[in-house]
Subunit: 335 residues, 4 copies
């Protein structure tokens, strides 16, 4: 039985707690949070103990930690946990700053302990089925990937201000999706953005609507469409044109019911947001982490993947600000 410490008892920490508890191979023994009440409440509900973060990392009886704290603490907790010899699964992103992430990667590399980054969407059964079909050659050679990724409603401007901006905060998932699908990092990034959903987002120096094009060395192209607001719910689709056909992954709808009246045929909306849409993905993510820990095999999402996605996000931010295509070289945007 793998003994697990959970760092972070917020919304996403609670999601992960469920997955840890549901997996018969893992036991959630400790929970920490900057808000001790939150840690105690979550710990109590799952038969774990609330402790402070440093103690959890220092405890040799704990085999693995799941980092679900605020983004600004990820890098240092990854480093500490890796140095302490834990198996580590850390929520995305590694950090909002590429240099910090690269430094973290250097420390982890020396520690010799790989770290898994929580790009949950790779574990969505729909996207995973597309990836499988692509890798099995079902549509031939990949040429053009198109990702639609809309949130149901914009976050408060106070969150926007500390989020690192749409490209680092929201599109980073899509950057990882594109790199994963194509099995490569892009060589250049072109980003276009607007603030038309809410002018307050523009006033905060960010965009709420964006189109980002990723160029790959062999000519493949990925295009990502982002919006902070799709009133009908979480819109998470992709399609991939290959030399022999097209693969599409559609939204997950609330039910399979249609009503046909004089107004037309109305079916259900997509699931509202990531907690609904990706609940199964979070569970599968945890199982994949435990599979790798038990087998001693490579993690399905690596720290390098987290750093690459962040580098693309930096390039996209730069591209948008400077109105030019930004090349990526040696894992960094060419300034």
């Amino acid at each position: 039985m793998i003994k697990v410490g959970l760092l972070g008892a917020g919304r996403i920490g609670k999601v992960h707690a469920k997955s840890i508890v549901a997996d018969p191979r893992t036991q959630l023994v400790a929970v920490s949070d900057v808000n001790m009440d939150a840690a105690q409440q979550l710990a109590a509900s799952v038969g774990a103990v609330a402790r402070n973060t440093a103690d959890i990392i220092a405890d040799p009886a704990i085999d693995a930690v799941l980092i679900a704290t605020s983004t600004d603490t990820h890098a240092q907790l990854i480093e500490a946990a890796a140095l302490a010899g834990k198996a580590v699964l850390c929520e995305k992103p590694v950090d909002l700053n590429l240099e910090t992430a690269l430094a973290c990667q250097a420390v982890v590399s020396k520690a010799g302990r790989p770290v898994m980054i929580g790009f949950n969407r790779r574990f969505d059964p729909n996207f995973a089925a597309v990836k499988r079909a692509l890798d099995q050659g079902e549509v031939g050679k990949a040429e053009l990937l198109s990702i639609t990724s809309f949130d149901p409603a914009p976050p408060p401007v106070s969150y926007i201000q500390v989020s690192g901006g749409l490209f680092r905060d929201m599109a980073i998932h899509d950057f990882d999706m594109a790199c994963w699908m194509f099995g490569a990092a892009p060589t250049a990034v072109t980003a276009i953005g607007s603030s038309i959903v809410d002018p307050a987002i523009g006033a905060a120096g960010d965009v709420d609507t964006a189109v980002i094009t990723l160029h790959f060395a062999d000519g493949r192209i990925a295009v990502i469409k982002n919006s902070r607001r799709a009133v009908y719910g979480y819109d998470q689709r992709l399609e991939l044109l290959g030399s022999d056909g097209l693969l599409q992954a559609g939204n997950v709808l609330e039910n399979t019911v249609a009503k046909i009246t004089t107004a037309g045929a109305t079916s259900a909306k997509p699931e509202y947001f990531f907690l609904e849409r990706y609940m199964k993905a979070y569970e599968a993510e945890w199982r994949a982490f435990v599979d790798a820990v038990q087998a001693g095999s490579a993690y399905p999402v690596t720290l390098q993947d987290g750093v690459t996605a962040l580098a693309v996000a930096e390039a996209a931010t730069l591209s948008w600000k400077q109105g030019r295509t930004v090349a990526l070289k040696d894992g960094r945007p060419v300034v």
Copy 2:
């Protein structure tokens, strides 16, 4: 160039006139109607001449006639035209009375001229694709056929009263569809009916909602659902379960547009009624008739098909009235 006389200048006569004109192999030379004005108007619009029915049939310069007159005249016109040596395409049904239809069949048989009956739905590209896939073994051996056939709105009660009833008037298309799909006539019929759409229809001695089950000698079953009213438009679907899978033919929608809002995803309604849904089928029906005439090959829908469908309709009517399953023997319901 095949010279064609059109008998009947009503709504369906006009539809057929278009198909005759559009086919480069056929020329519409004469039109008749009990309403001479209607005949003249239609004739004028297509460069034909209005004549009376007897003259058209007697004219040796006319190669083919299309009978689109009122149902009670079909049998006698079929006979006259066949005896006159014309190629004949007659609208369904042959007659509302099975004995009349059988007598007509005897006359035609002696004349040695086959006649084609206008079961237009066989030429719908969707149903035709199902038939083709079935015949090519794509779902193995057929087992259970289900036909949904709803009209958008009930006809006036005055029409109901002379229509022969739902089973002869409306379901006859579905009976032919089932016999065609299965390549056989049923051995027994069970019909259930209600008048819940409009009590006036019940008062007129008819039903507006019905379920009819057809039993075939080898155990195959077909079930037909009819309603005089589907407010959202013409609902014409079928599905066929076979040993290796299911074939479905869906409605034809007004367009491919969907609107997704907080109320769900709304797409278009089905085409409103048969003139919209089956326009292509009418054209294909005419082309198939001309193909057979030119090739001297068997018609794709025979007079026997028309008689069989009518026999099933009589059996269904009897089944509904007597609350029992009615067997079919030697082409007649067992009373």
Copy 3:
């Protein structure tokens, strides 16, 4: 915390065990089975104790029992548990014999403890959404209900022989669905059946393909299509025509992926069978049971519902055997 004893540790018992464990309001304390090993294994995996059935029912510390034993034991266990004052949720059917079920109902009635029957499909989110929309008048007055209910593969003939036949074993779910949707029991039943999937099923005196039509007093009609084999997976759909429109509940597919090639657009199959399709329904069923127990309110599925569905199944069996429509009067088929 409601303490629960689970009677039956087979396939469906294990499903229910998960739901009991997952509900924070209930604790699974005891498990019994005719196979003591099975009981012990399941009990061990959920922290419960394996006991014999009589002890569980006799134990005053146990508040509720879930009966998931073989069908022939349902009625007596319902009676015993009701007399012992337990809250009872029993798997369908009450019994294969209507008289036994009626006798059970009499005993339970005297005991004054209502019993819930496990018609799980009522708790499927899709069918539940249809029922809700219907009750809210979204398609007006109901007229014609059509249920498609195909299993992926026939059970072994040895099972067929003790199953009570397709109408009692398989269609009983659909009978309950129709009664629930329409809020009424039918007044007559017409059943047609064939053995075309597997002649061995016919040799065992049963059918594998059937169409059953239910007549309701006010003219509403329900038609049920059953097959023991849909090679593509569990096919569980319904559609309901009302005066203002149509409601449809579709299958639940394995994923949302489509692949479009020169062969067409291929999307996923339906979930394979009831364990996949109805897993959420089983969980919701348990929560609904606990809701009612805690609130002291009426169960959402009653023993009467179980008896009614069985009466319809008997009428359908009779109808099929005798080739006639069978009326239902005072809850019994008219022989």
Copy 4:
């Protein structure tokens, strides 16, 4: 009756001939072509006369001309026909060279005769329904438009070489679609392209796969995805995110049939290419032209629209070649 001369008897000329003949308000009286045989053959089949182009334009008895000749002759024929006082419908594009198109526009402007450009997709019933819904505010304020536009197979390289390149030849339709949907011309264009479908296309100095982003003054964004090859057929879709929802126009499929087997559910492919997909659009385009001619009202697609789309195409070509966003000012790309 409007007397029409058709200039060009090639593939698209024949399509237009059908529409002219089918419209009862117009009579096709003359056909010209550089290939006199082709002109004579088409003229004979529709009861028109083959004449040379200059004669048709000079003939005062001819009211309207439809220009369906090779692209390099469009501008001069537009000018000649406008100066001759004809009503003019000219196939897209106006020219491959923006300056030539602007000069043509100046001539036409002096002649005081407006000219309609044949952007047929505006008349597709699906795209037209989206435009109508958008204009009626059904999804609120437009924010992000996404156009998918893939051909089934690349043209021969010999065609590529004289085509003006993908942006002028293929994407020009999509540029017009975006401008029409948004009711505005973009202020900047960013184009990314690759030659991964066929290296010979790259060798000819063109791309076969492209993503083009259009920026509009108020922050709206349109993104266009192009490929010269979608093996499954013509892929012509769009979706438009607005403040209150999403509008989608899907492909038109060959039929409504689905086959569900152990391999999944397979439905039909999209119509193969523009002649199949847009046949109805060509007919509607002609009717709209005649409507405007008869009413003396503005054309639904103007010469200015043709010039704007070409300016966007030039900007896209420049953007792709120079790897930078290209602004549009006063109707010209900023070099």
